[in-house]
Symmetry: C2
Amino acid sequence: MMKSFAPGLAIAFVLALPALADDDPLPSWNEGDTKRAIIAFVRGVTDKDSDTYVGEDARIATFDNDGTLWIEQPMYTQLAFALDRVKEMADDHPEWKTTQPFQAVLEGDMKALGAAGEKGLLELVATTHAGMSTERFAEIASDWLAGAKHPKFDQPYTALVYQPMLELIEYLQDNDFETFIVSGGGIEFMRPWTEEVYGIPPQQVVGSSIATEFKMVDGKPALMRTDKIDFIDDKAGKPVGINAHIGHRPIAAFGNSDGDFEMLQYTTIGADGLRLGAFVHHTDAEREYAYDRETHIGKLDKGLDAAAENGWLLIDMKTDWKTIFPQ
Amino acid sequence: MMKSFAPGLAIAFVLALPALADDDPLPSWNEGDTKRAIIAFVRGVTDKDSDTYVGEDARIATFDNDGTLWIEQPMYTQLAFALDRVKEMADDHPEWKTTQPFQAVLEGDMKALGAAGEKGLLELVATTHAGMSTERFAEIASDWLAGAKHPKFDQPYTALVYQPMLELIEYLQDNDFETFIVSGGGIEFMRPWTEEVYGIPPQQVVGSSIATEFKMVDGKPALMRTDKIDFIDDKAGKPVGINAHIGHRPIAAFGNSDGDFEMLQYTTIGADGLRLGAFVHHTDAEREYAYDRETHIGKLDKGLDAAAENGWLLIDMKTDWKTIFPQ
């Protein structure tokens, strides 16, 4: 029998607990139903005397990355990286001046780039991310991240992570959760920095991937990146990726778009015990961005409709978060 | 600069240490060069005052499964499972009576089965392992393992694990290694029991896989197993699987066949710091089996030739192990 997460129940549950002490685990979250519901869930699964107790082995929490842990507007960070890579590689590819979608990138023609569609974008990513070893790619990605700045906030992308979510990850880890990233973004694009920024090591990062090939190069082992897509960790791919990498169903999952819909279904529906599914809802045009049903990046439409029915939390960025980014 | 594992150096290193105390971490290993080399490696990477010290984050050790952690003769356990599945499913498949390789299985015709080759075996595995949810498959595999007995030892397969290797896993874990299985066997065939038998949880199991599809079935989420091979975690696939799942190069790797050759290369060659690569060499016809260059299952040929050159340990089952199986 499912005991899906019910906010009403959670509130009653928390009212019976003593008031929060000074050691508030979520100081960047405003007091309110959302914060109470998260804390009630964590207490519910960690209280040994509760019939909702969950052993440490099964305390698995998954987090989408783009738009859930860091900024994804006005374009996915990895796409900004791919566009910069095209410009950097263009000297070696004179044919790009007259070949789409590369021509569009070089001319800054966002309309032509949009016309190239998802296929064009995948081609950009595959071309600019392939043909080198995984180690070399990690260096290239790290170097780019160290220098690149977000167009609106003029800050490094890794500074534009959500402080409340950093606190949530740490709170769950402190309660013996194993925390995983499960992102549509490239696994090798994330791994070089997730440990430092989120406290999540490479083996707990799940993402989209291109195929690699093992080779001895000059007597040394290398994994060479091909231009063949291996796995797309998005939508119905997220439960597949979770199963492949983790082999457990999570008991908590956090996303922000319809790309996370199936991950939340997999986590919360038809399972025994207390579960938590939540969407970060981007409602703060002033401090970050406001978007949901009408955007191309991070579209949250059917997830908004299904949240109440499934007992999924909507984290309202504007009202639930005291601060957005680390100071 | 590589400091590959050099037995001579290791022995000198250990001679300077006090004699082993009563709390011998490897009691089923006979005293000798092999045991000393393993202990020297672990002390070398965990001694903070040593220039070979390795931080806990990078202490990754990988283990092949078949023939390295448990018995693989006279046939891979998973193949015995597939053959039993054919017999169990045969009533629903009358056409199998006249279709190879199924006919061969039903008639116990091992010669015809051998003639079906690797393609035939993959077909057997795909057919008998597909068409159900991952959860249902885990139940089927667990039920089979609970009842099946090994033809020579008349014991459950999970009792035919190598006691010295169990001690080695625990010794590494006690020294803050993260221990992973990296096996050519099916990931979903292993995960239901590796935690109980080896102390290795599902998220630290890497293996071959078939593709799964996420679906809502009767309002509940399910991952349905297709008959499409997704990944073969063998030979050059092992470094690929390690990178995909772990995202670190291991510093220690244990195998027993040429299927582990590339994993040992990836672990030990061209890397900074102390590394350990080892093959379990099946030399004990009396207590287990003796095989290397001439066998079809668990063939160790080029690995034997390359061991000395690469500084890889050969663990001699007959002389290095006091006992083979747990009592």
